[in-house]
């Protein structure tokens, strides 16, 4: 293989990322109102899927808690949105989610496999019903109105959250921290015995992934204008995050991004064009992916690239 070849291939990923980020940054300048709303929605799902993968992909701990942290972010906006500027509210949404995840993680990350998944799923229901009880008992109403913010501001804050998440993912993956997370997924016991403080590592990473889920919730709440506990703590958001990440492939960060973009866009198209068959088509696409693309879309892309590279080498 020629060295020039390798360099080009290495530059391909970061180069494309840079171009896409530049296009997204300038998007409010040329986008239609509908385009802005659509892309904000897609970015929200990308954040959920990518932040889920930040913790769950390397460690193998399947968390169904994204909806809990997403909901905490939503309610941060609903409660503080009128008093504080949006960027601060989003920051607080992330911070409160971080603290909650730290607490939950410290208590439950000793659970493994299906027990951890079940607990995190239960957490969403627990918070939802506790909050419903609180609202009816102390405020006397079920829902709240959220302050309205213009679409451009919403888009920009969502985009900045996404960029921060992308940077965090990159830094963690590149560092010894990322290596340690992988070792936990490969064999947690061996990791502990060669000096990895597995409990701290898992808890902190779980909490960091929750920051972005909470932040995404805080931003998107301002578009929904009305929320109640059933809307905010909807377990569907947990499932969506997991499905999108797995659909895209979790072996590298491009997978969840690709999965979320396609999934969210498909949802939009199907919902508007085929409102009656939307769930059906969705289900079929999903089953095909799981059956025939066990490593997700990104696995397929990598296989194709390898095949093309192999062909080139054979010719040369």
């Amino acid at each position: 293989m020629k060295p020039g070849n390798v360099n080009l291939r290495k530059l391909w990923g970061p180069g494309l990322t840079f171009v896409v980020l530049a296009l997204l940054a300038a998007f409010p300048l040329y986008a239609s109102a509908y385009g802005l709303i659509l892309v904000t929605d897609i970015l929200m799902f990308v954040i959920l899927a990518l932040s889920w993968a930040l913790f769950s992909a390397p460690t193998g701990y399947v968390s169904l808690a994204p909806a809990a942290f997403f909901g905490v972010g939503i309610y941060t906006s609903a409660i503080l949105g009128k008093q504080l500027p949006l960027p601060l509210v989003v920051f607080l949404g992330g911070l409160i989610s971080f603290c909650l995840a730290l607490l939950v993680g410290a208590l439950t990350l000793r659970l493994r496999g299906i027990y951890f998944a079940m607990f995190t799923f239960g957490l969403v229901e627990l918070i939802k019903h506790f909050w419903l009880w609180y609202e009816i008992r102390f405020t006397g109403t079920r829902g709240r109105f959220v302050v309205v913010v213009d679409q451009k501001t919403i888009y920009i804050i969502m985009f900045v959250t996404f960029v921060l998440l992308l940077g965090t993912t990159y830094l963690i993956r590149r560092s010894r921290w990322g290596l340690a997370l992988r070792s936990v997924g490969e064999c947690e016991e061996a990791a502990a015995h060669i000096g990895v403080n597995v409990n701290i590592l898992k808890t902190i990473t779980f909490a960091i992934s929750a920051i972005f889920m909470g932040a995404a919730g805080s931003v998107i709440a301002t578009r929904w204008t009305y929320v109640d506990p059933y809307i905010a703590f909807n377990p569907l958001y947990s499932f969506m995050a997991v499905l999108m990440a797995i659909f895209g492939g979790i072996s590298n960060p491009y997978g969840p991004i690709l999965g979320a973009v396609i999934f969210a866009y498909l949802e939009e198209i199907l919902l508007t064009r085929f409102p009656y068959y939307y769930m059906l088509i969705f289900g079929v696409v999903l089953i095909i992916t799981v059956l025939y693309l066990p490593e997700g879309l990104i696995g397929l892309v990598m296989k194709l690239r390898k095949r093309m590279a192999g062909g080139q080498d054979a010719l040369a």
């Binding site: 070792s183 490969e186 064999c187 016991e189 502990a192 015995h193 060669i194 000096g195 990895v196 597995v198």
Partner: protein
Amino acid sequence: MPLLEGKGVTKYFGGLAAVLNVDFHIEQGEVVGLIGPNGAGKTTLFNLISGALTPQSGTIRFRGENITGLKPHVICRKGIARTFQLVRVFPNMSVLENVLMGVLFGKSDGHGMGQALEEAEKWVDFVGLSPVKGLPARSLTLANQKRLEVARALATGPKLLLLDELMAGLNPTEVAQTMELVNRIREQGITVFMVEHVMKAIMGICNRIIVLHHGEKIAEGTPQEIATSRTVIEVYLGE
């Protein structure tokens, strides 16, 4: 002061005494064998020393310091490394990455990435895995996976290395190579405490042997003393 010392170490699983009131000591520079029939409590004792389990009573001291009940990662950083009876490499990481993990996390002093890689290469070379250092660990033979575990443990910079049935499942050539490896580890000034069923190996390389039976220590002595001990022969062969 012994390097490692246990007094009255006891661990019950439910009503069963897996390790009962065991006293032991390991001196600096020794190779000590731990033998006994299946279920005698050998691996449990290793788990108690390395922090995977906490004893119900008794104390374990390492270089004079009480380490009873400390977490595995803390014990590792104090200088006790181990391998596992059933190999536990990181299957999808490369051989070099496996060993790098030990360098990066097993020591209390920090390392730069470049320096850490250099040291990992050194240990990969020490166990003779340099030709396969880029391969994922899962693609190695059992013998080489066991060597990889040793390299990963050595990379944490231990004073004491616990080897749990390093030779089980290996063919005679591989056993001989592994014995040679243990001797080279000793030459590095690292004390070795090993559980082993391969008698030829244990008689050949140990200074001293401890025998466990039903969780209790029934004999201790040089390989000759153990080989001729009536109690030990009764335990292994029946009366």
